[in-house]
């Protein structure tokens, strides 16, 4: 695992935000690693633990607790679809089915491929997209909503899906 200089600088900056306890930098460091490597490997867990003078279990228990952290690589572009009530009323399940169809990801037809902490991410056969049903994204008045990587899309209609996906090469 190579840690580029730029990432090292971001890590040191993040740690400096917590003058009282380095352990507080656990989540920020996990975010930085996931942004850089796409997922959290065993090596990353050990590296972060050593950096923050913790045991690896202190980091692993965060990765298994917080739904955003992944233990496996996602697709090149990661899609999150909100599945909670307001979006569900606005057609989230159909949106997810359409996204699965458009990206070639197998869908179980019940609003989700998987749903849970363990392995909630499904990757398309070509590796270009992955999809995940997530809980409320706090934009309930403009459902159904979705994210692609860090980009946010609201009131998504079927017709817009090809246009949205085409932006991600």
């Amino acid at each position: 695992m190579q840690i580029p200089t730029e990432l090292t600088a971001q890590i040191d900056e993040a740690i400096s935000h917590y003058p009282v306890s380095k352990r507080s930098a656990s989540l920020p460091l996990l975010h930085l690693f996931q942004e850089h490597f796409g997922f959290i490997s065993d090596e990353a867990i050990e590296w972060i633990a050593a950096k923050l003078e913790l045991q690896p279990i202190h980091i692993l228990e965060l990765v298994t607790f917080y739904p955003m952290f992944r233990r496996k690589p996602p697709g090149k572009h990661h899609i999150r679809v909100c599945k909670t009530l307001s979006c569900a009323l606005a057609g989230a399940e159909a949106l997810k089915a359409k996204l699965c169809e458009a990206t070639g990801i197998p869908c179980d037809g019940h609003g989700g491929c998987h749903n849970g902490h363990g392995d909630s991410v499904t990757v398309s056969p070509d590796g270009k997209f992955s999809i995940e049903s997530v809980e409320c994204l706090a934009s309930c008045g403009s459902g159904p909503v979705m994210m692609v990587n860090d980009d946010f899309f609201e009131a998504v209609t079927d017709g817009e899906i090809p246009q949205i996906l085409s932006k991600y090469k």
């Binding site: 935000h17 917590y18 003058p19 009282v20 306890s21 352990r23 507080s24 930098a25 656990s26 989540l27 920020p28 996990l30 975010h31 923050l52 202190h58 228990e61 965060l62 607790f65 917080y66 739904p67 955003m68 952290f69 999150r80 599945k83 909670t84 009530l85 307001s86 569900a88 009323l89 606005a90 749903n115 849970g116 902490h117 997530v134 809980e135 409320c136 994204l137 706090a138 934009s139 309930c140 008045g141 403009s142 459902g143 994210m147 860090d150 946010f152 899309f153 609201e154 009131a155 998504v156 817009e160 246009q163 949205i164």
Partner: protein
């Protein structure tokens, strides 16, 4: 995809915190904020004694906008005078309660208003280190806030010796990672300490006494901290004139689900009824439909049936208390009447379901949410939330047993009040209220004479007779 058209405030709104939201030409940078009078309230605040600011907040009777509606001034008053430990301020921007969408717009469109509210609050509470805990799913919001903090620092509103007063303050943005429980203030503190967000038991862990790093800590919602700025500007007494006694100020309500025009509105608390909100501001039900169920304050609030009626006590013209009967749509949008009608104003998120919706399906969606989000610390909640989900899953799959509605009620009754934090209530109230208020729909889905087969190991005589 272009963002949906910016919406104009409805004439019945009173915009204070949302004054700049969706305003044409308004941008989140500090230049724009300063052009619009930004940081003037901070300049006023630093000329006041910190205790005087706390007194203004107390006089305003501002109630927390995160969900619990706890008086902000009372919370601040828990910090002991002459406290020797460091005091921390945390802004709770973990907006995750289903149906709630307000903080998102402040963060993305008017971040300096929040930063100014935080600086004033920190000054009032003698805080030198503050954190802004933002949910992980707002990556752009986190960047915007970091940018706003850097701008404020460059302009001398943050950092060392703020505005030449000798007061120092640093604010850092801390991103969550997808866990709803981080919105619970003690869970948030654990998370900020780099741990799993297991809420702490109270007593002894009242944040104002033993909070972040075991030091006194104040945790306030985004909207609440923005209000502080307006309270400093207009004075607590003036702020308290907005709204009704004990339900002061404005608040942002978000309406989602089956109405013609869902959206967010900043209204004077108690200035309109739920019916006026849904019919006048949101255009009423969709064509040919009628309202069936309304969740008034975020998904954790107990659901109302649209034809429900309540007896509430109000003050008559002569000042005496009189009892009057009202319907759901007559309930004023305030904290106290919502509570008197058996639900809560909560986080201001109103979710509407019309007569095309299946209540078992609706409840199942919420049960999925709570089963996923239970932190797993307390047995009744960890097991019960999943159990409730499994029962509604089974009912939807066509296997509902006649005993299922009673099972749901019994499980939910055994979670609420038996857990460390209020998630226990949050996850059980939907089930309790849906089953109680829509019994006919649950009965239709619960027709099998016996529950599904019990696993054989539990049928052994050793377990059922005399065994342990």
């Amino acid at each position: 995809m272009p963002a949906p058209a910016r919406r104009h405030p409805h004439p019945r709104e009173k915009r204070m915190v949302f004054a700049n939201i969706d305003r044409a030409g308004y941008t989140p940078d500090i230049e724009c904020y300063l052009r619009n009078g930004g940081y003037a309230d901070l300049k006023k605040a630093v000329t006041m004694a910190p205790a005087a600011i706390v007194n203004e907040v107390k006089a305003s009777a501002l109630r927390g906008r995160g969900g619990a509606g706890f008086p902000c001034g009372v919370k601040w008053g828990f910090i002991r005078p002459g406290e020797t430990k460091p005091i921390y301020l945390i802004c709770n921007a973990d907006e995750s309660e289903p149906g709630t969408f307000k903080d998102r717009y402040i963060i993305h469109q008017d971040p300096h208003q929040l930063i100014e509210g935080m600086i004033i609050s920190a000054f009032a509470l003698n805080v030198h280190l503050a954190y802004l805990y933002i949910r992980g799913e707002f990556p752009l919001g986190a960047k915007i806030l970091e940018q706003a903090i850097a701008e404020a620092k460059a302009s001398g509103f943050l950092g060392k010796n703020i505005l030449g007063t000798g007061f120092d303050l640093e604010i850092y943005v801390h991103r969550g990672a997808g866990a709803y429980i981080c919105g619970e203030e003690t869970g948030l503190i654990e998370s900020l300490e780099g741990k799993r967000a297991y809420p702490r038991i109270k007593p002894p862990y009242f944040p104002a006494v033993l909070g972040l790093y075991q030091c006194p800590t104040i945790v306030n919602n985004v909207e609440t901290l923005c209000h502080v700025k307006h309270i400093v500007r207009m004075g607590g007494a003036e702020f308290a004139k907005i709204g009704t006694p004990n339900n002061t100020g404005t608040r942002i309500v978000g309406v989602s689900g089956d109405v013609q025009r869902p959206g967010y509105f900043e209204i004077e608390v108690g200035s309109m009824t739920l019916g006026e909100l849904l019919n006048d501001l949101c255009g009423g039900p969709k064509p040919g439909r009628s309202f069936k169920a309304i969740i008034p304050g975020g998904s954790s609030a107990k659901v109302f049936r649209a034809d429900e009626r309540f007896k509430i006590k109000t003050k008559g013209a002569d000042g005496a208390m009189v009892e009057k009967e009202i319907g759901v749509l007559d309930i004023p949008m305030d904290f106290d009447t919502m509570a008197a009608c058996g639900s809560m104003a909560g986080s201001g998120g109103v979710i509407v379901m019309d007569d095309s919706r299946d209540m078992v399906e609706t409840l199942n969606n919420l049960n999925q949410f709570y089963a996923h989000e239970s932190c797993g610390q307390c047995t009744p909640c960890r097991e019960g939330s999943l159990w409730m989900r499994k029962v509604t899953d089974r009912m939807l799959a066509g296997g509902g047993a006649q005993s299922d509605p009673a099972t749901l009620t019994s499980v939910s009754n055994n979670i609420a009040g038996k857990t460390i934090c209020a998630f226990g209530e949050a996850c059980s109230w939907p089930t309790m209220s849906f089953v109680a208020k829509f019994p006919e729909e649950f009965a239709t889905r619960a027709t099998k004479p016996v529950p599904p087969p019990t696993p054989p190991e539990f049928l052994s005589e050793a377990l059922t007779e005399g065994g342990h």
